[in-house]
């Protein structure tokens, strides 16, 4: 039991890390990873939704009729997404402004619906939480790594939290010129492509 629990948790961190191994949920991956901070914020919001929607779907898996299961999952997911949206507005308003439309769009993130359908609806609540937490943390890590690559190359800074960079290339070398292509939309595709290529060089097992 404990062993399989650990397995469900750790698979999301490496073997099935969502954007790189499953290649799922690419919309927020491409759109919000301009800074590490945005990546962490988006990842944490998605993790919250994943854990609680997994928990509820798993708890209600014997009650929800098969024919309307997708509608039920969407109601559950949308409820938690709206809660995240309101809480972010109340407590991290500047981050909410930066992530904007991509917070409500977590509803249609295929990772969340995918875990509900593929895992939570077939497993007990504890396993479902472990799965949601693992996949969510994996998603947060991926977004942060891509955010770090793009922010470092594109702006020369690394911003972890609160809008102030913890590292600024301009203070290291005054002749540093940021490669601003990387924080534009095409840079997201190039950055993601390179990370995917690197991940494919490393065997998943």
């Amino acid at each position: 039991m404990a062993q399989s629990l650990a397995k469900e948790f750790t698979k999301g961190l490496w073997a099935e890390i969502p954007p790189f191994r499953l290649v799922l949920g690419l919309c927020p991956v491409l759109a919000v990873t301009k800074t590490v901070e945005n990546g962490i914020g988006m990842g944490m919001a998605t993790t919250f939704v994943l854990v609680f929607s997994n928990l509820l779907v798993s708890m209600l898996r014997n009650v929800i009729p098969a024919k309307v299961r997708i509608a039920c999952y969407i109601v559950i997911i949308a409820t938690f997404v709206t809660i995240v949206e309101l809480v972010m507005q109340a407590f991290t308003y500047p981050l909410f402004l930066k992530l904007g439309i991509f917070i409500p769009l977590i509803v249609v993130n295929c990772i969340v619906l995918g875990r509900a359908e593929a895992f939570a609806s077939k497993n007990n609540p504890i396993m479902a939480i472990a799965d949601g937490l693992g996949i969510g943390i994996g998603f947060t890590l991926s977004l942060s790594v891509l955010g770090a690559v793009r922010e470092f190359l594109g702006a020369g800074t690394i911003t972890i939290w609160g809008g102030t960079p913890v590292f600024d290339m301009a203070t290291v070398s005054s002749s540093f010129q940021p490669f601003s292509f990387m924080v534009e939309a095409p840079g997201a595709f190039v950055g993601l492509g390179l990370l995917l290529a690197i991940m494919n060089l490393i065997p998943s097992k």
């Binding site: 209600l60 009650v63 929800i64 009729p65 024919k67 309307v68 509608a71 039920c72 109601v75 559950i76 949308a78 409820t79 709206t82 809660i83 309101l86 809480v87 507005q89 109340a90 407590f91 308003y93 500047p94 402004l97 904007g100 439309i101």
Partner: protein
């Protein structure tokens, strides 16, 4: 038949619980969200409109009612001693809902000091330029209550932003409403401001 009823019952219960939960969260966070909007949206806009006031417009804000309209008003004392007032109006029909516009009026000349876009959900790079690039809203600066603040193609004096006509219309609607409200509420505001 049994299956049908169970589908209806489960979905109804689920949506009812979800609705109740969301109502609770919303009422719990409402006050804090309002504070955050004031701090991060309205305060910077007011500071842009009235850069050198001798008082604190946020702390001295007061509600004004006339003709059944209630409005939160931010008073400002200008450096030359004249008084100004800033308030927000919502322009209906933006691309992503209402567009908030803060407009500042000089109480002695009745002219608009400046205007700034606050809350909006317009497309980044197109409609959102109304907020990010003050060139468009700066057209309102210096206009008097007699000027027509509609867009040029509607007989007004304001150039629309290219590629963002819908947003431009919403902003100009908010400005027209601000002008209208200012005319209606001026006696009441002056009474309270002394």
């Amino acid at each position: 038949m049994r299956e049908m009823i169970s589908m209806i019952v489960v979905l109804t219960c689920l949506t009812a619980v979800s609705g109740g939960l969301l109502a609770a969260v919303k009422s719990g966070t409402e006050l804090r969200i309002e504070e955050q909007v004031l701090k991060f949206q309205k305060a910077p806009a007011i500071a842009d409109i009235l850069p050198d006031v001798t008082n604190d417009p946020i702390a001295e804000r007061f509600p004004v009612t006339a003709d059944g309209i209630e409005l939160q008003v931010f008073p400002g004392k200008l450096a030359d001693g004249s008084k100004a007032v800033v308030f927000e109006t919502k322009g209906k029909g933006g691309y992503g809902g209402d567009v908030g516009l803060m407009t500042g009026f000089n109480l002695s000349t009745d002219k608009i000091i400046a205007a700034r876009v606050t809350t909006h959900a317009e497309t980044p790079g197109l409609g959102a330029r109304a907020k990010d690039d003050p060139a468009f809203v700066s057209q309102f600066s210096g206009k008097s209550t007699a000027d027509n603040l509609a867009l040029k193609n509607q007989g007004g004096a304001i150039d629309a932003m290219s590629g963002a006509t819908v947003t431009s219309v919403a902003v100009s609607r908010a400005a027209l409403e601000a002008q209208d409200l200012y005319k209606k509420l001026k006696p009441e505001i002056e009474k309270q401001i002394q």
